[in-house]
Symmetry: C2
Subunit: 178 residues, 2 copies
DNA sequence: GCTGACTATGTCATCGCTGACATAGTTGAG
DNA sequence: CTCAACTATGTCAGCGATGACATAGTCAGC
């Protein structure tokens, strides 16, 4: 809302499209969260007659809200539990049939290549705009660049692990090593 | 347990040390999970008298358990909601004072540099072992390499964003651009 | 004229995770 | 001798997230 006012629905959509790659928020969680923000005075709300049984509500960040956002963003993140399922799976693929594991990894590599291309497109589009440092769109460029590099790294890693997988199953052939 | 039998406590410790960088499991969740694994027949349990009011229980993977692990590892991951707090923060640092944001980012860069060094050490140690592809330790090498590359990318990204931050606050100076 | 997609707000049961609490023997350092 | 740290297993309240359910107007395409 600090970037632009919007309804809960519209904010949810924004949270899906560019933000969705590094943060998720379920539909059900948005409306209570919005109510809390109004309670603490970080956003203002204006109700308009809307479709459905409820009013349409446009939320706008207050000055205090923008200050709070800035303070939060400059605070170091609480070191997060990453929980990367793919890495966990790779740490256990010694128990899998190499052919199946390799196929999975190459499919993942393709997924990440597609993701990389999408990010690269966003980066190209934003870079064409001659952005001043420190503007919201410049920030979006930074995150898109990180997304692109992350996807590239992941793609390469998937391919490299797949390429290193044994052609003959070491478990089946009885050559059990540490 | 498929790698080596162990007690719940010992498995939790293993989950902290090399695995903790890409997966977490709280102490409270381990014991119910273990009981479920016994229920479905993927691990066997042997009770021994131990310290404290409960028996010490050594868990061992069954053949069915190893098969299930292999099948799970070769299955593509359910595309995960990544939830990267640092990236989310960077997408909002336009609302922060650049000096504060820059300090935070450089501190994060140092954290990731430390992490990178730790991973690099693990990689070096494992690489010295002449690992056969497809063994459990080879898998550990693959995940450590990914961890190292991820940490390096993150370190560089933090530094690059910090370097690009404006020296004069664009919000305070009134030059509000898209 | 009908159907499906989109806009729009909300509730709620359920589920899994987290962190604290509870208990108790062993071992090593000061 | 004492205290802290480690081994070891378990329970449980609370919290937040998820996904389904509920409702209803508009608009484009067939």
């Amino acid at each position: 809302m600090a970037r632009a006012p919007g309804t809960g629905y519209e904010v949810t959509a924004r949270l899906r499209n560019p933000v969705g790659y590094y943060w998720t928020e379920s539909h059900g969680g948005v409306y209570p969260a919005l109510a809390r923000l109004v309670d603490v005075g970080w956003v203002r709300v204006k109700a308009l007659p809307g479709p459905g049984p409820h009013d349409k509500k446009v939320y706008t960040a207050t000055a205090a809200g923008r200050r709070a956002l800035g303070a939060w963003a400059a605070q170091p993140p609480a070191d997060p539990p990453p929980r990367d399922e793919l890495v966990l799976k790779v740490s256990s693929i010694w128990a899998s049939r190499p052919a199946r594991a390799g196929a999975m990894l190459l499919a993942e590599a393709d997924r990440w290549e597609a993701q990389r291309r999408e990010y690269a497109g966003i980066v190209a589009r934003l870079r064409a705009q001659e952005l001043a440092p420190g503007t919201p769109t410049w920030c979006a460029l930074q995150t898109a660049q990180r997304g692109r590099d992350f996807a590239r790294g992941r793609r390469d890693w998937c391919r490299s692990v797949a390429a290193g997988l044994p052609t003959i199953d070491p478990l089946a052939s009885g050559a059990r090593t540490s």
